[in-house]
Symmetry: C3
């Protein structure tokens, strides 16, 4: 990894980009606080009457499908079109796609109607996009054993090419691809999956890094995932033995203290 | 209490049941995290366009009336009917019933239209259900001094028989009844009432235990209330003297570390 | 500051006023918990079908514009009219006014249609109200350098006179004015701006103090801001070096432990 990737965090802290979230009400507080912890500034606004105004003053737009409903879906599309028209990067977190037809349809509409810059999800969420328009069901690479790293890489590349965006599959090993480059990140800790919203927070970090570094979505995504993975390791070391509550707090502590040096020293790639 | 009750927690941790919450936006993050801390998996979804799909993949449905509005009331009914039709247990938390006509009407409709498996509330909330259809006002047992344990037990039994469900009245002493059996739990700490959402979290734990042990709603409810009460004691011991924030974190710590042995050793019954 | 101001906190803890919040879904949990930490009791209800009932049992109404949409705007107006009609104090937190036309229009409507008792915001939010009905743009005192304390005081006074309410401008130095009296509070810590919702929590504290001391909105506001500022200092001392998560928890700890003596000993005025 080039030195420059680690230093993208400085750009976040120096420029304090405003990150417009249209997101769920479950993890929204953690998303706002993690955005502040990395040095960016969150604004949550989901009324269709104001999303265009808010996109207009923001450096990145995050669309998180956690608690979808008709009102916010409409706002997501309206905000996304505005973001595309002014060149503001869009990060899409398709929470729970595959779990309901509403989520499937919405995810499809969002990637059809908008140009997404970064798509982040777990393997089962990203697999959904590998099937889109593929005309096949059940015979896709996506159907293969997803514990298999090679398959995850293949899915990331395929979806990145299909949607012309950066794809991040987060899990025990995080995979980032833009269709050509692929990076695998080994940082992180299983305890992250014991808290709600660590995936959502990852997406907020990606949006923060993209907002500060809009020309480098791939490197920004890698730096954001390194930040979360390394913070998870530090939080586990500090408080994992005490329990979930202390780990939660320590995770916010670790992100707020993160810097380029820690990223460089602790990064572990595939 | 039979040994088996304490071991219901193992079934939660082993089977990781998916718990569908239609809940309020105030305490939802704590509810999601406590569900994870006990070993279950939360999904929050309130759009009427998807609640049937989500019920279809869930092991229990929790309806929490904390921040009611017309959209979510409709979703609660739709989700509840689906849950009843497929035999998925429903836990109802009638937050604030008695405080507004909207809450009163909604609570009435929910127990009329749905078969509820477990109803949990504080004494004033549960009293509301004792009056329903009773044709009397003010001359009911529910009107009696509710500091009186005998009255609370009578109300729990009456409501359980009326609604054909398990009723849990939480407070200084928790009462659980299915209309015949009654258990009183002395665990807990007054500091729990200094945090928002400890009642809601109780309901999430009940839903988690019921999702993993759907044939034993009474024992599952007892085990869930023991978990919360004992966790409150452990959290108070660890951090109560520091203040509400530390106690809050320690409560999540304690639930995440809870096991059958701790439940058995620390349980205190009436 | 008179001794009596510091002792307003005792009235909050002794009377446990119910504080009706119509607020955003980002910081709502912190608002509920800080309300409990100061000794009041929160109720969050935003359905137009019940807000009048809830106002009817509450001691203060807090309108927070954080995540506005048409449904809650209507509820704010309905609740506010009821509060005015029964003499319940209203605190308005115009979050993000200036950032979108929706927020500007809503803020204007709220101050036009309702009698607000306390308005709290940062300098850029309060400046918006200095312009209202002024017929001028860009030549107002509000346009002056807002790092300038004299300008902030002038804006606070002007808006207080215009809206006939207490105005609190929070920032490095908090300014409170009712149009005649002005108090400047130097307590606080820059780290408060690293957490989401510290402004919202301030407003919840103001509403709690006003609910318990409805005849003294000016002193209640001063006492609430002292509480938050001093709690920020204590939290920073206890946990600021660890990071944002620990600071967040310590802030709740400090508010829950606050008393009149600490307020008196640590208050620092301009």
């Amino acid at each position: 990894m080039s030195n420059e990737t680690y230093h993208l965090i400085n750009k976040v802290r120096d420029t304090k980009p405003l990150i417009h979230h249209i997101t769920n009400y479950v993890t929204v507080n953690d998303c706002a606080n993690i955005t502040l912890a990395i040095g960016a500034s969150p604004v949550m606004a989901d009324s269709s009457d104001e999303v265009e105004d808010i996109v207009g003053i923001s450096s990145a737009l995050l669309l998180n499908m956690g608690t979808l409903h008709f009102r916010t879906i409409y706002s997501m599309k309206k905000a996304g079109k505005k973001a595309n028209s002014v060149g503001t990067p869009i990060v899409l977190d398709p929470v729970g796609v595959g779990a309901s037809r509403l989520r499937n349809d919405t995810a499809l509409q969002l990637v059809d109607e908008l140009n997404i810059d970064v798509l982040r999800g777990n393997i089962s969420e990203i697999k959904y996009f590998a099937h889109l328009h593929s005309g096949t069901k059940g015979v896709d690479a996506a159907e293969a054993n997803t514990n298999n790293l090679d398959d995850a890489i293949a899915i990331a590349k395929k979806v990145a090419l299909k949607l012309k965006c950066v794809v991040a599959i987060t899990g025990a090993i995080d995979i980032v691809s833009d269709g050509e480059q692929v990076v695998g990140i080994k940082n992180g800790h299983p305890m992250l999956s014991n808290l709600t919203g660590t995936g959502c927070m990852c997406s907020s970090l990606i949006a923060s890094f993209c907002g500060a570094n809009p020309k480098q979505p791939f490197d920004a995504t890698v730096a954001a995932l390194l930040t979360m993975g390394i913070a998870g390791e530090i939080a586990h070391e500090a408080a994992g033995h005490i329990g979930n509550g202390s780990f939660h707090m320590a995770l916010h502590d670790a992100v707020s203290k993160m810097d380029a040096q820690a990223l460089e020293q602790k990064a572990r790639f595939l």
